[in-house]
């Protein structure tokens, strides 16, 4: 008989907490970031088409949607960076205590927004 059980427990059977929220968000932002990198590769490749053709891309990037996309990507990268730092600390054996894990989880969530603002301000040379 074919085994129809899931290989890994599915997310809907767990009650939500900070760790599970960070864990699934880490995976989702990871997939989004690689899709974003593919778009960035395409953007770089389209530069070969020359200045005239680039005007269409520039028009999109200067639109509300383009600006929102870059802002979202900044957050997505920020979240991934902080979450990955949290994982690296775990790999060296730090931060496994329940309270520490909750605090670092909150730092990843709120820190990602702070880092997004910081990166945006540095990128726009406001600070």
């Amino acid at each position: 008989m074919e085994n129809k059980n899931p290989i890994s427990p599915h997310i809907q059977i767990y009650s939500w907490n900070i760790s599970s929220l960070i864990s699934i968000s880490h995976r989702i932002t990871g997939v989004i970031n690689i899709l974003a990198l593919i778009l960035i590769c395409l953007w770089i490749a389209l530069l070969l088409l020359g200045e005239v053709n680039y005007e269409y891309i520039k028009f999109f990037l200067q639109s509300f949607l383009g600006k929102f996309l870059i802002l979202y990507l900044t957050w997505s990268f920020s979240f991934q960076i902080l979450s990955e730092i949290r994982h690296l600390f775990w790999d060296f054996g730090y931060g496994f205590e329940l309270i520490t894990s909750k605090i670092t989880g909150l730092i990843v969530i709120f820190g990602s927004f702070v880092l997004t603002i910081l990166i945006y301000l540095i990128g726009k040379q406001i600070i």
């Binding site: 899931p6 290989i7 890994s8 995976r27 990871g30 997939v31 970031n33 690689i34 990198l37 593919i38 960035i40 590769c41 770089i44 490749a45 530069l47 070969l48 020359g50 200045e51 680039y54 005007e55 520039k58 990037l61 200067q62 383009g66 600006k67 870059i70 990507l73 900044t74 990268f77 920020s78 991934q80 960076i81 990955e84 730092i85 994982h87 690296l88 790999d91 990166i119 945006y120 540095i122 990128g123 726009k124 040379q125």
Partner: protein, 109 residues
């Protein structure tokens, strides 16, 4: 050393390399995305930008292919589909950064 251990070490080393590269790239992306064609090509034409963007692409696609293969491992039941998905993933992880690097080194003002 078993393969799973090697994979884990590669994943961790690449993630440690990626963190500063991602910070560098996203700050510069925010800085240039609205600018004119000439400014963007000028940015990617400098040696540090070429080198760091190429390194980012290689490490990011390497890291992502390892991470996404873990997601396939967890959620794809059928072994044939999983094998095929991993093959497509690994091929794309080589081709996409390779093309991007070739473009980067052919960009001229």
């Amino acid at each position: 050393m078993i393969n799973a251990t090697k994979k884990w070490i590669f994943l961790k080393v690449s993630s440690a390399i990626l963190i500063p590269l991602m910070i560098w790239f996203i700050i510069n992306l925010v800085s240039i995305y609205e600018k004119d064609y000439i400014d963007i090509v000028s940015f990617f034409s400098t040696q540090p930008s070429k080198f760091l963007t190429s390194l980012l692409m290689i490490v990011a696609f390497f890291y992502s292919s390892l991470s996404i293969s873990e997601i396939f491992e967890d959620y794809i039941h059928d072994k044939k589909i999983k094998k095929m998905a991993n093959k497509v993933l690994y091929i794309l992880s080589i081709i996409i950064p390779l093309i991007t690097i070739m473009v980067l080194f052919n960009l001229n003002i």
